[in-house]
């Protein structure tokens, strides 16, 4: 660290002395070598509300939680605000520069009918003193939260250049203990865990929910027939189909990026191997043929290959292969246990579970540099799932002796536990962008 400081000082002096030699072009030049890695300071002013309040809904809180959870923003505490504007005209920029915020969100919610509302918001640039963007929506009261997420997405995209993933869904399994034994629920909720809808209710375990690329279907593993079988269920009407019930294991379903195929794991041929089911023709192709355990297939975003877990080298490690099973290539070499890989939508990052010193944590590998970063330091993390913008990872972990879901930004900066009211939660899967 000291050495690099000296180097920088030397560089600075070189530039200055260079100036002296040629005093004619005497513009002082100062090199900038670092910045600060902080979130974008943003202030979200509570939206004004006129009309009947909708219980438990605070758009401001939703937006603030979304932006903070992404790890990209630092929201200014409301206690610091010097004014409470609700639209651009009311904003006194000086007051916002004083509290050191870069951006400002103002808005209003107005009831327009029995169950309808008009929502307006504006995003302001405090330094420049202008409005960057603003929208208004006319919606049902039931959609207020969705709109809040939509607004979060717009703000996120405007200020980071990346598509936001707040207006998305998550699927997960929750387990309750009842008198009749355990009750397993497959649920779909908003990306912040709110407003869960039950997709399937079972007394037998449920595992590995997987979203179709159009976000309209979920594939999952159900033990309702006392052994593992794969189903695909349509969310709109709950209609479902059993697609794999071979002898032995049927598990780890994964839709291909174009939605036409389903990779899965079967031990029908005497060992756990990876297969691909063509959803149109129902033809099955075997991809792996190996004495070890091959499981947890996950498609590359371009659909031309998959990553998967294999114990062919003795311990579980992560491998890559082409869509036809050829060209197997090992990806992980550090540590004795690397499993459950998943690649981000831009193809740049791969998230996985790694074991180190007996602890199972979420790690991210940069697929170009092969550099691995640990994102969590808890004991029993599982099932990491990328947000569709690749910026956040949803995963299952233990907290206070209970299974919970947490989200961590893919740079590890921010972590947030998703709040659930009941049960033991596990097996999260982040939906693609909703259309």
């Amino acid at each position: 660290m000291k050495l690099s400081n000296m180097k920088k000082l030397a560089a600075l002096l070189i530039i200055l002395s260079g100036l002296m030699v040629n005093p004619v072009q005497a513009v002082l030049t100062i090199e900038i070598n670092r910045g600060v890695d902080v979130g974008i300071p943003i202030a979200i002013v509570p939206f004004s509300w006129s009309g009947a309040p909708v219980a438990g809904e605070s758009m401001t809180e939703v937006i603030e939680a979304d932006l903070t959870r992404s790890g990209r923003f630092d929201s200014i505490p409301q206690a610091d605000f010097l004014q409470q504007p609700h639209n651009a005209k009311e904003v006194r920029f000086k007051d916002w520069r004083l509290i050191k915020t870069d951006y400002l969100v103002v808005g209003s919610i107005r009831q327009t009918g029995a169950t309808t509302y008009n929502v307006k918001f504006q995003l302001m640039d405090v330094f420049r003193g202008n409005t960057l963007t603003g929208y208004q929506y006319n919606i049902q009261s039931t959609k207020l939260r969705n709109v809040a997420h939509l607004i979060s997405d717009i703000i996120y995209e405007k200020l980071t250049g990346e598509k936001g993933a707040f207006n998305t869904k998550i699927a997960y399994v929750t387990v309750e203990k009842t008198k009749k034994g355990r009750r397993f629920l497959l649920q779909v909720a908003d990306s912040d865990g709110f407003d869960p809808q039950t997709i399937l209710d079972s007394h037998q375990p449920l595992m590995s929910p997987a979203w179709s690329p159009d976000a309209r279907k979920l594939a999952y593993v159900s033990f309702e027939k006392k052994r593992s079988m794969i189903y695909i269920q349509r969310l709109s009407d709950g209609k479902r189909e059993k697609v794999a019930s071979f002898k032995g294991i049927n598990s780890a379903p994964a839709f291909s990026p174009d939605g036409t195929k389903l990779a899965f794991v079967s031990s029908k041929d005497g060992n756990t191997e990876i297969y691909v089911l063509d959803l149109r023709t129902r033809a099955i192709k075997r991809l792996t043929n190996n004495h070890g355990i091959d499981t947890e297939p996950s498609w590359l975003p371009n659909g031309r290959g998959l990553v998967f877990t294999s114990s062919r080298s003795g311990q579980p490690q992560i491998y890559r292969m082409n869509a036809d099973g050829s060209g197997v290539q090992r990806l992980t070499y550090s540590g004795k246990y690397n499993a459950r890989p998943s690649v981000s939508a831009d193809g740049k990052l791969m998230v996985m579970i790694s074991r180190g010193k007996g602890r199972f944590h979420v790690a991210v590998m940069n697929l170009r540099s092969k550099e691995i970063t640990r994102l969590t330091d808890t004991l029993l993390d599982e099932s990491p799932s990328f947000a569709p913008n690749g910026r956040m990872v949803l995963y299952a972990t233990e907290q206070d002796n209970k299974g919970v879901l947490a989200a961590v930004s893919s740079d590890g900066r921010v972590r947030q536990t998703l709040r659930f009211l009941q049960g033991d939660v596990r097996e999260p899967a982040w939906s693609p962008y909703l259309r």
Binding site: M207, S267, I293, T295, L380, R426
Partner: protein, 176 residues
């Protein structure tokens, strides 16, 4: 016979089996001889096998005790049977091979550590290890069903070895 005696008998028998290092092939014969080697049993009363049917004459005490064990356990990350597990497996194999109409289900499990899908595969391998013993001892594969539950059906819910140890198992089930 009281429980303590039973226990002692089992231990002695198990010890004998290990020490003798007998060939699997001769198991059957040995099994038949078991009644002659050592502790005299008063073949009184009816013992029931795991399938609920009464045991035949030659299937006595010790075997019954082993048969009463329907869980075999595994070391962490391992799918290999240790000695105890082997004995139990063999006992069941014997029983099954003597009851060719009986079907058995082997449920494989794993502790909560590691990923679920991988544990599903691990559970299956453990169950398969037991199945291999069965098949080796003459049980028809058609009578064996191997199922894995991975970590989905634990018997102990703690987050430490005392619980994990109990969850790393194969359950031998005759009724479905």
């Amino acid at each position: 016979m009281n429980n303590t005696s039973k226990l002692i008998l089992i231990v002695l028998l198990a010890g004998m089996v290990v020490v003798s290092g007998c060939n699997k092939k001769n198991r059957k014969a040995e099994g038949a001889d078991m009644g002659n080697t050592g502790v005299s049993t008063s073949g009184t009363g009816t013992e029931f096998g795991p399938d609920g049917k009464p045991l035949g004459d030659w299937q006595s005490g010790a075997l019954a005790d082993l048969l009463a064990q329907t869980q075999v356990y595994f070391a962490y990350d391992s799918t290999e049977l240790d000695a105890d597990s082997q004995a139990i497996a063999e006992a069941h194999a014997t029983f099954l091979s003597n009851n060719p109409a009986t079907k058995v289900v082997l449920e494989g499990h794993a502790d909560e550590r590691g990923t679920r899908e991988y544990n599903l595969a691990l559970g299956e391998r453990r169950a398969q290890s037991v199945a291999d013993v069965f098949v080796a001892l003459g049980v028809s594969p058609a009578n064996i069903e191997v199922i894995s539950y991975g970590e989905e059906n634990p018997v102990a819910e703690g987050h430490d070895e005392s619980s994990w140890r109990l969850n790393r198992r194969v359950e031998i089930r005759y009724d479905r």
